[in-house]
């Protein structure tokens, strides 16, 4: 569904992405992992067209995204740090997004109800805590029933109850045959969700394997252990 071909990106002197290629298909749940500053967020933002790569192309359903913008209607994006206009209320932001997307598909308000957002609608964005912002981002990402979900550290800052709600929701959407791309540093929670693992380091895509393959190769059941095993023996990878 998403096909990335040789994209590179440089911010000034800093090389963030080096000739990254990958392809992601429906029904997969991709765990995008790697150390801080390894280019995960930049890769995601390139797919969304928020960052324009210096070279390389990205295809969404076979179409080059370069001069297209409608493809974003099929993507729900939850940013790492949700930034919203300070003096709008939650309700206004959600209404604005509904107004802009004008989605014909039925709205998916599961999370909206699960997080009990109704009581928060009148709150201004600037007064929100980090966790509440995350909830708003999550609601917006799932609201339009997109075919692709891109979640950048979705559970960071969420309380255990909310993060469990979110994980169940992700699982449910995966069952529906959607493509889910998650970045996270909490590998234990990816254990239950991920079907494929993409490991990035210093802007290079180190490996892209299915979880089963990874388990077989390393003999470890836990993702965290498998990854650290691979990282300790870089030649094997």
């Amino acid at each position: 569904m998403i096909c990335i071909k040789n994209i590179s990106k440089q911010f000034g002197k800093l090389i963030v992405l080096k000739e990254v290629s990958a392809s992601f298909n429906a029904c997969e749940c991709i765990a995008l992992i790697g150390p801080n500053g390894s280019g995960k967020t930049t890769l995601i933002k390139s797919v969304l067209g928020m960052v324009v790569p210096d070279s390389g192309t990205i295809f969404f359903k076979g179409m080059n995204i370069k001069n297209d913008w409608m493809y974003r209607a099929n993507i729900g994006y939850m940013p790492q740090i949700g930034r919203y206009p300070d003096n709008m209320t939650i309700g206004q932001v959600i209404d604005m997004m509904k107004d802009i997307r004008r989605s014909i598909a039925a709205l998916d308000e599961d999370l909206f109800e699960a997080f009990n957002m109704k009581n928060l609608l009148g709150k201004r964005m600037r007064t929100l805590s980090g966790g509440t912002r995350q909830k708003v981002s999550a609601c917006l990402a799932f609201l339009f029933n997109p075919e692709v979900l891109i979640l950048d550290e979705p559970t960071a800052g969420l309380d255990p109850v909310s993060s469990e709600i979110l994980k169940q929701k992700i699982e449910k959407e995966k069952q529906k045959g959607k493509l889910v791309i998650i970045t996270s540093h909490i590998l234990s929670e990816l254990d239950e969700l991920a079907t494929e693992v993409v490991y990035m380091q210093e802007g290079v895509l180190r490996f892209h394997q299915s979880v089963e393959q990874l388990h077989e190769e390393t003999g470890e059941k836990k993702l965290a252990k498998a990854i650290s095993k691979i990282m300790n023996n870089p030649l094997e990878a």
Binding site: L48, R72, Y84
Partner: protein, 255 residues
């Protein structure tokens, strides 16, 4: 696109500075016309306000507004919207609110006291200057990510156009007094939208004593109607060029 413009205007109205600006202009214009018994003197006073205050408010307000909308822009860019439309909507929203503010504040007194061609010209100049300085501010904010630096640049630009530029023109005039400088001076005056605005009004007013060096040259060279048309054309170019450059830059901007 209309929707984004609607949200931008609603957002601008919510912070009430534009309303205060309207009120200030309104009070200024009324008091200036009441201070002078001769309305054309009043018009000159008003012209000075328009040439100094209107560009200042437009450029600073737009710059700060664009910086403060960083989150809003970021949110929109990840949505199924064309980047060009986001930027144009932002520009249109600012333009509509500041132009309406200017017209409410100045057009009403002008229509009451001086409903003549000169009054109309002043209004046209005010509107054009408002739009030009919004366009310049938006380009400047796009080129600098740092807020303090960007606003500093914008203030310096205003200072250049409103004060320093006149000094430069005078300097050139004295230094090259022995040479035929008229045509070059016309070219130089095109580099300053505020100067163009002044020439535009004074051409209509026909007070050559106040026209300054470039104005006098302009009148001799073009005659009144050609001078009028060409200076309006150049002012439109002053809007068009920054807007086009900023759209191209915004299309490539990384969020």
């Amino acid at each position: 696109m209309k929707k984004i413009i609607k949200y931008v205007i609603a957002d601008i109205l919510r912070n009430k500075i534009v309303l205060a600006y309207t009120l200030c202009l309104f009070v200024f214009s009324f008091s200036i016309f009441n201070l002078e018994d001769n309305t054309s003197k009043g018009l000159l006073g008003l012209l000075n306000i328009i040439l100094i205050i209107v560009p200042l408010i437009s450029i600073i307000f737009s710059a700060i507004y664009v910086y403060n909308s960083a989150e809003f822009i970021e949110l929109l860019v990840s949505q199924p919207l064309l980047r060009k439309q986001i930027w144009i909507s932002l520009f249109s929203g600012l333009t509509v609110s500041l132009v309406v503010a200017f017209l409410l504040g100045v057009a009403i007194p002008v229509c009451i006291y001086e409903p003549t061609a000169v009054g109309l010209t002043i209004l046209i100049v005010g509107v054009l200057l408002t739009i030009i300085f919004i366009a310049i501010a938006m380009l400047a904010t796009l080129l600098t990510r740092d807020k303090a630096k960007g606003i500093g640049i914008v203030i310096l630009l205003w200072l250049c156009f409103s004060l320093l530029f006149d000094g430069l023109v005078l300097f050139l005039e004295f230094q090259f007094a022995d040479y035929p400088m008229e045509k070059i001076m016309i070219g130089i005056s095109m580099l300053n939208p505020i100067d163009l605005g002044r020439i535009l009004v004074l051409l209509k007013m026909d007070v050559s004593a106040l026209m300054g060096y470039t104005g006098a040259v302009f009148k001799n060279f073009f005659g009144t109607s050609w001078g009028f048309a060409s200076s309006i054309l150049v002012m439109l170019i002053w809007i068009f060029v920054p807007v086009v450059i900023s759209i191209v830059r915004f299309n490539k901007k990384d969020m």
